[in-house]
Symmetry: C2
């Protein structure tokens, strides 16, 4: 990587944030990080980063501040208050929120950032833990064009597809559709696999031929084998996808758009969670299809 080094702060060193921070370090950017649990900070330090005692210390000298937290209330807590990003970042710094949150909250927070003299982008990602580790996330960016281009070299250290999709909030809107499509595609694959198993078809052979035709998808490539093996370690947890589908259905309602399959997928994800599988990978939708079909082992 030949990008000009930028001082980067990363707030939220979880399943996604930590490998993203590590890839920023690998690309030559100094990274200061903060996380609520010290263990993750220690892992960042082991990788060559600097640990901070709080958000304020992490962001005070940063050129680019990346936040990666689970939900809208979490990000509001990180940016607001006396220890928050807005009160402590340099004027002119870039705040890039990679969290998946409600588009309307994203728009409000970007406006608040601008009032504090901070440039704001929403930049949620797709590609999961594997994409975060491999540095080939898809990043959907909302905000001003000049700001997107200014931080592009930094984003390209963590993602292979970095696309400016519109003004503030647009990144979150596109991420919402990503989550709609992914949930629905996993559910369709789960239904297909249970159907094939019920008909005693060779599912491995079936997957190979399905992948070669119009039914092929990244979900099929990445999830089918583990679903057949009933391995549901996350990956991306049902709890988080359930949260995201709440965003999708609310945003569709607000826009007056009917999303019959997306809404059904949201219901099914909620049902998987209600059955106690919230901490499994979202491909655990298959457990629900099995249960609905009387083919559940449990």
């Amino acid at each position: 990587m030949n990008a000009v080094p930028r001082k980067v702060a990363v707030i939220g060193l979880g399943i996604m944030g930590l490998p993203m921070a590590v890839n920023l370090l690998k690309a030559g950017h100094p990274v200061t990080g903060f996380n609520r649990s010290q263990g993750k900070i220690d892992q960042l330090v082991s990788a060559g980063g600097v640990g901070a005692s709080g958000t304020a210390e992490a962001v005070k000298d940063a050129d680019v501040i990346i936040t990666m937290v689970p939900d809208s209330p979490d990000i509001e807590a990180v940016v607001s208050g006396p220890d928050g990003v807005f009160a402590n970042a340099r004027k002119g710094a870039y705040w890039v929120d990679c969290s998946t949150i409600r588009p309307d909250v994203s728009v409000q927070l970007a406006a608040a950032a601008r009032k504090a003299g901070i440039k704001a982008l929403d930049a949620p990602v797709s590609g999961g833990e594997t994409g975060a580790i491999e540095g080939n996330l898809s990043i959907m960016v909302g905000g001003e064009t000049a700001d997107v281009e200014a931080v592009r070299p930094v984003l390209e250290a963590i993602g292979s597809t970095v696309v400016h999709v519109g003004p503030s909030g647009s990144g979150q809107t596109v991420k919402a559709t990503n989550q709609l499509i992914v949930a629905g595609t996993i559910e369709l694959l789960a239904e297909a696999l249970v159907f094939l198993e019920a008909h005693s078809v060779d599912t491995q052979a079936a997957i190979k031929v399905l992948a070669g035709g119009l039914a092929g998808s990244r979900v099929l490539d990445r999830k089918a084998a583990s679903m057949i093996a009933r391995k549901f370690e996350p990956g991306f947890r049902v709890d988080l996808h359930h949260k995201d589908l709440g965003i999708v259905t609310a945003a569709a309602r607000e826009a007056g758009v009917a999303i019959p399959l997306g809404a059904m997928a949201a219901q099914l994800m909620g049902a998987v969670r209600a059955q106690g599988h919230g901490s499994l990978d979202h491909s655990a939708l298959m457990l629900l299809v099995e249960r609905l079909s009387g083919r559940s082992a449990s």
Copy 2:
């Protein structure tokens, strides 16, 4: 292609069958074809094939008989009766049905073929008109292993992915899941696109970034641009996909498998058809999402 030439008969020279026959000719196999409309036979002859006056004449000297017709009753008509495949094919010939029909009918017809001394395979395809023209169809084959291997060189002239998925009928079962996944994936994409348009997001940019992440699919790659442009020329007609989804839902019922998203997709495909769009491409599901969302031009 270096395959040993086999005398091939192709019954059904439609949107799929004709380009498949042409690719067989290109691979060096002599092809005799029959179709109800003479125009298609003339096109086959122009490409170097031989036209027949009926099924009986087409199949009488063939090593391999390929049928490609729309539905279960059509194939029953082609194979049965004094002018049909079973009464006229050589003993030991291979009958390869590339039509998409009910798995149970496929099993019955294969048994009838064996009684007539004919080796039967079900070999439905995925990849659409483009795949048929380019010779890179995905072919899901049900039947005896030895029979599959015997005709594999012929199938490889029309498809790039040829997979033996199980005994007679298995090809149709896998094709049913293919059609479930494809219909659902198109509908999810349609919902996503209408959602993005309602939020005034740059759909071209959004597609680029969605394609790079876990939401990526062959449907998105092949259909998104034409859906955004509202171009719905087939391709694969709503009428045919509606027929296929009837097969899927019936087969799921028989196996006691719940397919909530597949069943919803079947309902929506039926609704698009009921609104008079049966002859459009299946991506016309988008017209229904628009109508449900009050965003229809008409």
